[in-house]
């Protein structure tokens, strides 16, 4: 029996995955394309009724600049820019000669915020997803070693993870990141952030995996496997780790939102991606200025995207919350 909220979470997460995978098709323009004279242009609503009240194919009225200093724009009601479907390998776009369709408005350089949010999803979610996989892998490894070997390994690994768990995650990530060179290429930043987040996140799954492995390895089936001549590695990988699968899944849905946020924070403060890479943190940094924010609230679109992702992941994990072991309660939730 799947609860309604969980189903909503599954649908939302799948949608987000599809949208970010298909960003180049769904985004009307290149994320780096600048439209002249459209800096801080407001969002443009598509119309289907023209001024005479006749039905038309979806179109927008092009914007023109009224006041360059105050970034005020007016719709040009005399011309209509029809939206083009399935041209130039994009779902919706507008002809090059006509003005653009800026669903979420434009940023300080006249770039389409909507396209940038979609492309930013690939960067931000890509880092978060890979980092989650890395953290789960490292955590499962550490937990399995601690639970299976016991003794000194167990003590040392668990003490270290207990220690790391009380530290504020963002500072661990910051200091690790700051130890690397500041100016890097985009792909270097991508992999360094993934590594840093993964390394900072391993203690969260490690403790639970250790608990599972320590219990399971005394059970009959593990002893039977041993009696049948299975090696230690085989028992660990084929018999004990699968027992912690559901636990790892839950941890993944908790780590992912934390890492989405960590990427945004790092890029926001300038330790992550940098302009002109479209990532949610980089985009939020542009909205950081109070005066800009008051004039162009649509620059907060990536913030809405972050909340949507985190919320759908929370909905997804809500069902499995009560089945979490004691001591695992909300440590990640509160770490975000």
């Amino acid at each position: 029996m799947i609860a309604g909220t969980t189903r909503a979470g599954i649908v939302a997460v799948s949608l987000i995955t599809i949208v970010s995978a298909a960003a180049p098709v769904l985004g009307p323009y290149e994320p780096s394309r600048q439209f002249a004279d459209l800096a801080f242009a407001p969002p443009m609503v598509p119309h289907v009724l023209d001024d005479e009240g006749r039905w038309q194919r979806p179109f927008v009225y092009p914007l023109h600049l009224v006041d360059r200093l105050e970034h005020r724009f007016a719709e040009d009601r005399s011309t209509r820019v029809a939206l083009q479907w399935f041209t130039a390998r994009r779902l919706i776009t507008t002809p090059n000669a006509a003005g653009p369709w800026l669903l979420f408005g434009a940023d300080a350089l006249g770039r389409d915020v909507f396209s940038r949010v979609l492309h930013g999803a690939r960067m931000s979610l890509g880092v978060a997803l890979l980092a989650t996989v890395l953290a789960l892998g490292l955590g499962a490894l550490a937990g399995a070693v601690a639970g299976f070997a016991g003794g000194a390994w167990d003590t040392v690994l668990m003490r270290v993870s207990d220690f790391l768990l009380v530290l504020p995650v963002i500072y661990v990530v910051l200091v690790l990141r700051a130890a690397m060179p500041l100016v890097l290429t985009t792909s270097q930043v991508f992999w360094i952030m993934t590594a840093v987040l993964g390394v900072a996140g391993w203690p969260f799954p490690a403790k639970g995996v250790r608990a599972v492995v320590a219990v399971e390895r005394r059970k009959e089936y593990a002893e039977a496997a041993h009696a049948l001549g299975a090696g230690r590695l085989r028992i660990l990988l084929c018999h004990l780790l699968p027992a912690s699968r559901s636990f790892l899944t839950v941890q993944g849905t908790l780590l992912l939102p934390a890492f989405i946020l960590a990427e945004a924070t790092l890029s926001y403060v300038g330790f992550g991606f940098a302009e002109p890479v479209p990532s949610w943190g980089v985009m939020l940094h542009e909205a950081a200025d109070v005066a800009t924010l008051a004039d162009a609230p649509w620059l907060l679109a990536p913030a809405a995207a972050i909340v949507a992702c985190v919320l759908s992941l929370h909905l997804l994990s809500a069902r499995s919350v009560p089945s979490r072991g004691p001591g695992q309660t909300t440590s990640i939730e509160s770490a975000t």
Partner: protein
């Protein structure tokens, strides 16, 4: 004070000292690993003299040892960026972060705990489910987003100052200066407190639900104890341990969150100082901030340990 309790206390104290030591040392070493120490003076002799004065010409181990011996006497060296002693800088900033963090924790407790008891003790009805969904949504709004939204709110309405903290005029009096600080404190504290309040609400709600399933509650009901008393006295005490245990983690959350809030809302506290230090590769300032932050963290964890021991004396056996 029993010996068991004394041992528990000693062990937690030892952990606190270790925390401060390891965190500040690790951040010093990691910051030293960073591939540059900025000395942009043109003259080579000036660079060499400056490096010597700051101790950068020594090998890592010697520099670390010297920093360690000095920091025991609370001399954390001099900041490269601000050209001032690190200790003085931290004294200025730590108070602000403490003010922000403690206010937010109190706010989160005042809002989150009663709501959690309320939703946890009622299984159905429109109000609990509204509170429940609201806290799931709020839990998904991180402090980064919340503070940007509140900043927009402040900029649009002008009801609250959009970040910062002004110098309080000397003739403002106690009431006046508290009022001024509160006006500036309100939005950052709310941005920091809301996600924590939601987390506390969810936790308290679950803990109360579990506590109400306890056989002793059934016994109390059978004795005819009125329901509000059962929820707020009996179940609340049973749930207290789970909730108090999370406060140790909450201190870290408050520190994590305050980093973002301080930067977005230009609340010049410890997080903002740490950020500037990391950006400028200001070695001693990074280590000093880490030491101050971990002291706060250790203090918070110790407080939560003591509260836990007061709520449930059995902890001393668990250690």
């Amino acid at each position: 004070m029993t010996t068991g309790f004394r041992r528990y206390l000693l062990r937690r104290l030892g952990f606190a000292v270790l925390l401060v030591f390891v965190v500040s040392s690790a951040s010093l070493l990691l910051a030293r690993l960073a591939p540059s120490d900025d000395a942009f003076a043109a003259d080579r002799a000036v660079i060499a003299a400056e490096r010597h004065r700051l101790g950068f010409d020594k090998p890592l181990a010697a520099q670390y040892a010297e920093w360690l011996t000095r920091s025991v006497r609370f001399d954390f060296g001099e900041s490269l960026r601000f050209r001032r002693p690190v200790a003085a800088l931290i004294r200025e900033r730590a108070g602000r972060t403490a003010l922000l963090g403690v206010t937010a924790l109190m706010l989160a407790t005042i809002v989150g705990i009663p709501l959690g008891v309320f939703t946890g003790s009622r299984s159905s009805g429109p109000v609990p489910s509204v509170v429940h969904s609201a806290s799931v949504v709020v839990l998904s709004i991180p402090s980064l987003v919340m503070s940007l939204v509140l900043l927009l709110f402040a900029a649009r309405t002008g009801w609250f100052p959009a970040g910062g903290l002004p110098s309080i005029p000397a003739d403002a009096g106690i009431v006046g200066s508290i009022g001024a600080i509160a006006r500036y404190l309100f939005l950052p504290a709310v941005a920091l407190a809301l996600p924590m309040a939601a987390a506390l609400e969810r936790l308290q709600s679950r803990a109360i639900q579990e506590a109400l399933a306890d056989p002793c509650i059934l016994a109390a009901l059978a004795r005819g104890v009125p329901r509000p008393r059962i929820v707020w006295r009996h179940a609340f005490r049973l749930a207290l341990k789970t909730v108090l245990a999370i406060y140790g983690i909450m201190i870290g959350t408050a520190l994590s969150g305050s980093f973002v809030v301080e930067i977005v809302m230009s609340w010049h506290g410890l997080g903002d100082l740490m950020y500037q230090a990391l950006q400028a590769r200001d070695l001693y300032l990074v280590a000093g901030c880490a030491a101050a932050g971990s002291c706060g963290l250790a203090l918070g964890i110790l407080t939560s340990d003591l509260a836990l021991a007061a709520a449930d004396p059995r902890v001393e056996e668990l250690g």
